[in-house]
Symmetry: C2
Subunit: 118 residues, 2 copies
Amino acid sequence: MVKSNENGDFIHAHNEIVEKVNENMPDDEILYELADLFKVFGDTTRIRILYVLLETEMCVYDIAQVLNMTQSAISHQLQVLKQNKLVKFRREGKSVFYSLSDSHVSTIIDQCMEHIAE
Amino acid sequence: MVKSNENGDFIHAHNEIVEKVNENMPDDEILYELADLFKVFGDTTRIRILYVLLETEMCVYDIAQVLNMTQSAISHQLQVLKQNKLVKFRREGKSVFYSLSDSHVSTIIDQCMEHIAE
DNA sequence: TGAACATATGAACAACACTTCACATGAAAG
DNA sequence: CTTTCATGTGAAGTGTTGTTCATATGTTCA
């Protein structure tokens, strides 16, 4: 399986490197969580919702207006954002106002914006 | 369409807010790009590849070994990462070594890690 | 140039996700 | 308590995406 060239270097697989990298990898569970979180950001509707909430809290109906989408579609996506603790909400009469839950959101978006800008 | 309560406040839609938020929204094109970039991060295989490359440059075959996946699957995903300028590569003999293309990657991943850790 | 190795790529299938539609839940006003 | 307004949610359909398989491209060495 493992071969060597005339210098004694491993060709395939480079087992030492492979093993060392493996040691330093986070648990799969964490990597799944990480990918799942990015998935949440990886949808245009949700990104646009987050961008709206970056400016001000807003109720479901108004978000739907701004984004020119149905109330139902927005509500579905807000549930996803809520599950991932990216937004919080408060009830005021018949309306439910959503806002960002913490400051990581803007930092994360900003970094990706920088990458795109290059 | 627009109604008012006894104080003259708009109920639905809150047009002033809607219009103001709309002015400050980035172009749709940019938001699509942003979501697309997040989509790239939103896959476990690609996240794991990036994590590997965070430590050291590595050739396709070895990445496949570390992640216990087929060479083809890894190669496909590397093309996606390449298209989005998240990785660069250099050829050395028969092997192609991949590495991260800039430092945004680690910052972005770190921020999301922080969010998860909460 | 032919054989062996390393990577890239097209097609197809399966799995997943987003929107729509219909309807349920919840709140407030008469 | 019934109606109306605002939001939530389940099911279904469609489109997207990741892996696999087979094969092509490209490199090295004999």
